[in-house]
């Protein structure tokens, strides 16, 4: 038993987090920044932060993650990191020549109170930023919120670059939220099918699922361009996917450039995708094309065909708020029973919305924002489940409790596919179903007695 010290009896903890269901802000900012074309993310703090974020993102994507650091020493920690950041900006533009440096702070630089706008100003005055190049900065104190907050803060910093011109550009901004590169691609594909001209940022597709070509390109020809991000101020409107990941940026675009916004759930599963497609249809003033209807029909078809294996199955879930809301809704809609739901990211609204979504189940549900995986495990020990959905760390719970596991979320360190096969949209819903059914039916085949072992399921 690898988690043999986890007791069934739950004691409330006030100070100790065990097996967290979140990590810190800067890694989210780094991921978001990689969705800008020609961008080198930069971590303003000790070099260990940058090393850890790069390592985790690399393990998740099996792709090179380039990012630089201010490499604070004890002196910088006492006197401030301005000199380090100025030197870093100079070195980065000289050696790596990116279009953009996206700087995020850390708990260290936030605690000492380094002021990014002031340092950027000095960098410009000292001509350390070559003409046409851009600096973006986002405050991402690690002691507030979670990695999701950091993602949101970097996306907000992108939105802050928006400029309002004379004319609307005829496009819709889509802020896709913290989804995989392939999910971003899928969202663009769906929008294109509905004839909506889209300006998406950030966009990691093509950056973090790049082909092997025999050549290493630190800056692949992919990602949202600075010109497009600036132009987002001229859009007809913004669709922000995910309250936690994307809403702040959308609201800023609204207040700064008068671009109206709708905040939707991430389009995972049937109903959330329906709302996304409906929003696109309304914006485009068009009918939903047959192709999309066929995709939707296929998802409904598989739910109907396999309903007997899904009905009433209890599920425990752990992940990030936007993902969990959509996934919980999907599970409820296919008559599964999500009964233990944990995120590490704070937010009262999360618990309220889960309560609303699970109300039709007519039974109590354990839900916790600012929870951890230790608590989730204890809940499972007190009421068992048929399926566990979450990141790779769940495999320790799955092994100890002998549970089928679907890996979904961040980080996934031990399986492949998440960067290539989307789980958003109707086709993504099919993939989620395929994964859940695969896990449940593999377990059934393993556990059924020989007399009841069946060829056809």
């Amino acid at each position: 038993m690898l988690l043999r010290h986890t007791p069934q009896e739950i004691s409330e903890r006030s100070a100790l987090t065990i097996n967290p269901a979140k990590t810190c802000q800067p890694i989210g900012a780094m991921y978001a920044a990689l969705g800008i074309r020609g961008c080198l993310p930069h971590s303003h703090g000790s070099q260990g932060c940058c090393a850890y974020h790069r390592s985790t993102l690399t393990r998740h994507y099996k792709e090179p993650i380039s990012a630089a650091t201010s490499s604070f020493t004890e002196g910088a920690s006492v006197f401030g990191g301005q000199a380090n950041l100025l030197q870093a900006i100079d070195n980065i533009f000289t050696v790596y020549d990116p279009e953009v440096i996206a700087v995020h702070t850390t708990c260290l630089s936030e605690t000492i109170g380094d002021d990014l706008p002031q340092i950027f100003d000095k960098a410009h005055k000292e001509k350390k930023v070559p003409p046409g190049k851009t600096l973006i900065g986002a405050p991402t104190p690690s002691y507030v919120g979670s990695h999701v907050t950091g993602f949101s803060n970097m996306v907000k910093a992108m939105a802050a670059m928006a400029e309002k011109g004379e004319r609307k550009n005829g496009k819709i901004n889509i802020i896709p939220g913290w989804v995989e590169p392939c999910d971003m691609e899928e969202i663009k594909r769906l929008a294109a099918l509905l004839g909506v001209s889209v300006n998406m940022f950030p966009d990691t597709s093509g950056v973090l699922n790049a082909p092997m070509t025999g050549e290493y390109r630190m800056f692949p020809e992919a990602g949202a361009t600075i010109a497009d991000i600036r132009d987002s101020g001229n859009a007809l409107g913004t669709l922000a996917l995910g309250e936690w990941c994307s809403a702040e940026a959308a609201r800023l675009l609204d207040s700064k450039c008068k671009v109206p916004c709708s905040i939707l759930d991430l389009p995972f599963g049937l109903s959330a995708t329906d709302r996304f497609i409906d929003a696109l249809r309304t914006i485009a003033g068009t009918v939903v094309p047959e192709e999309v209807m066929v995709e939707r029909g296929r998802l409904v078809d598989m739910i109907a065909d396999m309903h007997q294996y899904l009905y009433g199955r209890k599920v425990a879930l752990v992940g990030d708020p936007d993902q969990l809301l959509a996934m919980t809704e999907f599970l409820v809609s296919i008559d599964m029973q999500p009964i233990h739901i944990v995120t590490g990211t704070p937010g009262k609204r999360f618990e309220e919305r889960i309560a609303e979504i699970t109300a039709p189940m007519g039974r109590p549900v354990n839900v916790r924002a600012k929870g951890d995986m230790f608590l989730l495990h204890q809940w499972i020990k007190n009421e068992g489940v048929d399926l566990l959905i979450g990141n790779t760390y769940c495999k320790y719970i799955a092994r100890d409790e002998d549970l089928p596991l679907v890996r979904w979320g961040f980080p996934i360190l031990d399986r492949q596919g998440h960067q290539h096969f989307p789980t958003v949209g109707y086709r993504g819903g099919l993939r989620l179903l395929e994964q859940m059914l695969g896990a449940l039916l593999d377990r059934k085949d393993r556990d059924d007695p020989e007399s009841q072992f069946e060829l056809v399921l």
């Binding site: 690898l2 004691s11 903890r13 100070a15 090393a51 393990r59 993650i65 050696v95 630190m218």
Partner: protein, 545 residues
Amino acid sequence: MAPTDSAARRPPQEIKEKLLEKYPPKVARKRAQQIMINEAQGTTPPEIVANVRTIPGIITMRGCTYAGCKGVIMGPTSDIVNLVHGPIGCSFYAWLTRRNQTDAINDSGANYITYCMSTDMQDSDIIFGGEKKLAAAIREAYDLFHPKAIAVFATCPVGLIGDDIHAVAKRMKEEFGDCNVFAFSCEGYKGVSQSAGHHIANNQVFTHVVGKSETVKTDKFKINLLGEYNIGGDGFEIDRILDKCGIKNISTFSGNATYDKFASANQADLSCVMCHRSINYVADMLETRYGIPWIKVNFIGAAATAKSLRKIAQYFNDAELTARVEAVIAEEMPEVEKVCQEVYPRTAGKTAMLFVGGSRAHHYQELFKEMGMKTLSAGYEFGHRDDYEGRQVLPHIKVDADSRNIEEIEVEPDPLLYKPRKSEEEKAALEKEGLAFKEYEGLNPAMDPGTLVVDDLNQYEAEKLVELLKPDLFCAGIKEKFSIMKMGIPMKQLHSYDSGGPYAGFRGAINFYREIDRLVNSRVFGYIRAPWQENPELSATYVWE
């Protein structure tokens, strides 16, 4: 073997210049001192600048002091509760990511390696101080797990806001009575790399744990194995061999370690140092306080393993032990040689580069040599000058401001427990026979003339080296892995071994030969270009038949 064509074509000086040409002048000047052409062989190896600050903005391979302390040294211990005081990230990223194996069948039946614990500091803790929360978290961990020990690790903001973690630890230890609580001031900004964290960890484990065991170790040939982290099961393989020889490893620092094993280290009669960089401080302190001499060993490479076993036998100077060691080597080597000969025709003449750690860039050259492979360039991520040039340079190393911040603890002989295991005469006699105490000759003498030794290699230089020298294999860590692979060059992680291991000892050598054979002869890099890219011009239209 002769170097590859591309390497032969380019003199090392030219390569060095190419590595530096794009840098701003100040950066170029600094990097020039950290890139050394291995020219002077023999008595005085050339000087290299190492253990100096990383240059801001230059994409480094290095991590931080916390990573060296919590991640490297304390991370592999199974029955100590490791509690990180700070925002959540630091604990999260060091959670099970280093492939330290543990059998968790140890003296206390406890294994906390799978648990990630943190005080998850919030902004209110930063503003009002986090000591109360830390004390409460230690109490909660104690109530839940009742461990033998709780280790507390400081992250960057802790030092800045002035939380006195040592006072909190001391108070809690006194309160509990049956749980040792101690703390590490390993804030990430200290020092210049992981190396400072190793030193801090060495000091605190030595101060708070070593010598505290009540268990008396009665084995005849007792050693400590220092600087072995059981990545991919290396420590298991070394212990298998030692057990077979009748040598008892009573305390590994810190692969598969337990509290009691650390605490018993003072009972060994010899300390064997694997990774000199990360653990030499403990080796020195064990000698000063308890009279345990140390020797450098290396269990990476079959010949190196045999040599290290013989050194241990030589130290104990026992005919039966010597015979047993020889018998074990004779028993183990045929299988090793068989596999080596099997892969040799496919690996001989291939070239490698190694940029990793504070010892592995040196140790792994043994295995490559056995396979007939040549190391074109190597260097450490966080080594010091003595790891490159040998310990004779120690008196000449200038202590800079960054190193001065790291506490040096004064150790005196223990009034009760100090017992020199060998008299000065015995040591002198052994030295005369060729057994060197407290000696490490460093990486440079192991490298061929004209090869490049590069300290703190960065992303840009790595790419340039690969482009200019086109090695058949590149070894570094996870952050470097995929940019090298995208260039079509096989890449092996030598921090965590990707997925393989063990690579230490005899069976480890066999695993490594097979793994490297797989990598340097893989077909996959031949698929990068599509068939039609080879003949892009249409010379005829397709005729359907």
